[in-house]
């Protein structure tokens, strides 16, 4: 019996298309581990606070987290040199392990922006993508953390919380049972593209600033077009200090980490 169904074929065309579009550079030597990026990201993207209990269950929700890497602890405490910090978010892999495992195509690759997407309204919450992500960048909504009922205001619903005013209208409020992750602040990318188009020009270098990069007091995060060799992010990524996380897995992440002094 033959079928007419056209199933998508997942191929590794990574060697052929190394270009990419949007990319990020994180300078680990500049990062002080202040967590400003974490706070800014949660505010910008309506990432909920899960509370102590759920956090203890390992259900904390952050699109970006600051990993601490202790160096020089093997001898004794006098030998402690420094703590190295590594802000880690979705690496927007070109060859993403999360995408082929989604049974409902909710984790798809954006062909126009060349980043990974999570389509919230398609997601059924199997959590395969998070289990297959080598960077553990995806987080799952175990509950309805935001009491969000469209159309309700403080006037007609006493249980309505004033805190809902902090929600960013440009980003969907996710509901229970939906996977989510860093989007490279795609709402800001769209806004900049929209403005540029209305003014009849291309998006300028440095026009799109994700919330984490905007909040970083040390300017450790740079964002821009990696297909433009003249952009700040391309020049920063070219230095010999750059490395990709789990490069040997051939996921081709779009985030470059700089470390190792000037």
């Amino acid at each position: 019996m033959t079928s007419n169904l056209e199933l998508p074929v997942f191929t590794n065309n990574s060697e052929a298309e190394l270009g990419g579009k949007w990319g990020m550079v994180v300078d680990r030597d500049l990062c002080t581990g202040c967590q400003a990026c974490v706070a800014a990201c949660s505010m910008e993207n309506n990432v909920p606070f899960v509370g102590e209990t759920d956090m203890a269950y390992g259900r904390g929700m952050h699109w970006i987290r600051v990993e601490r890497l202790w160096e020089g602890l093997e001898a004794d405490y006098q030998e402690v040199k420094m703590t190295s910090y590594q802000p880690l978010m979705c690496q927007q892999c070109h060859n993403a392990p999360c995408e082929p495992v989604c049974p409902v195509y909710a984790a798809v690759h954006s062909m126009s922006e060349d980043i990974n997407l999570q389509v919230y309204n398609r997601c059924v919450g199997t959590r395969y993508c998070a289990n297959n992500c080598p960077y553990q960048a995806r987080v799952f909504n175990w509950r309805d953390y935001t009491d969000y009922r469209p159309g309700n205001t403080a006037d007609n619903d006493p249980s309505w919380s004033v805190l809902q005013n902090h929600l960013n209208p440009d980003v969907t409020v996710r509901r229970r049972g939906v996977m989510e992750k860093c989007t490279f602040c795609i709402q800001r990318i769209h806004k900049a593209e929209d403005t540029a188009k209305s003014e009849g020009r291309d998006v300028r270098d440095g026009e799109v600033v994700p919330a984490c990069a905007q909040a970083c007091p040390a300017n450790a995060i740079t964002f821009g077009r990696i297909d433009d060799p003249e952009s700040m992010v391309s020049k920063a990524a070219e230095t010999s200090r750059g490395s990709l996380l789990l490069e040997e897995m051939r996921t081709q992440p779009r985030v470059t980490y700089l470390a190792g002094g000037a």
């Binding site: 062909m111 997407l117 309204n121």
Partner: protein
């Protein structure tokens, strides 16, 4: 007991009862569907047809559509800008509602009729810039009394238009120009991308 019930249902009286029951279920369902298709009640019974036929442009009251994501709904001050110069405003009982809003400085809480779900991020500006007219999606408002939505605004409807307007066919690319073809392909990639609307 059950057998008795079946026998009664087969009698003429029983058949009439079954018919009445089926009819009431059907009419309730029909009424339910009918109520979902009614335009919502507005705080002011604003007549779109009168204003459009008087020559008021859509963008006069909904100016955000030209440059922004949301077209916006007019405040009572926008209404008053014209209506304070019109003698009928003081006499008409329908316009007394507007006068009440203005004099008490109450905001008019219009009920939007053309809405998309929370997980869809629709922007008006690119659609106006692409040369679409308001009536392409919102219907001819010169024939509509109280604002209503003429379309089922779902994703298939959006994508049909996006695909039609970026198809590499005779209509969009009459000269079969490879440059136009590449541009259409790029547009199609962008306009059928999940991340363009869902984020």
């Amino acid at each position: 007991m059950i057998k008795k019930l079946f026998e009664w249902l087969l009698s003429p009286m029983g058949r009439v009862a079954v018919l009445i029951g089926a009819l009431s279920v059907f009419s309730l369902a029909a009424y339910g569907i009918y109520t979902t298709q009614q335009p919502p009640e507005q705080p002011i019974a604003f007549r779109h047809d009168i204003h459009v036929n008087l020559g008021v442009q859509c963008l006069y009251c909904h100016p955000g559509a030209l440059r922004g994501a949301s077209p916006g709904l007019p405040t009572q001050n926008k209404c008053w800008g014209c209506h304070q110069q019109i003698a009928k405003t003081n006499t008409s009982p329908r316009l007394a509602v507007l006068k009440d809003y203005v004099q008490n400085n109450k905001p008019v809480q219009w009920v939007p009729v053309a809405q998309v779900p929370d997980f869809v991020h629709f922007k008006h500006r690119p659609h106006i810039a692409a040369g679409l007219n308001c009536e392409t999606c919102h219907g001819d408002m010169s024939k509509v009394e109280i604002a209503e939505n003429p379309q089922v605004m779902n994703m298939g409807w959006c994508l049909n238009c996006h695909r039609d307007r970026t198809a590499d066919n005779v209509q969009n690319n009459p000269d079969n120009d490879p440059g136009v073809s590449a541009l259409l392909h790029e547009k199609r990639t962008k306009l059928t991308d999940c991340g363009t609307c869902h984020y």
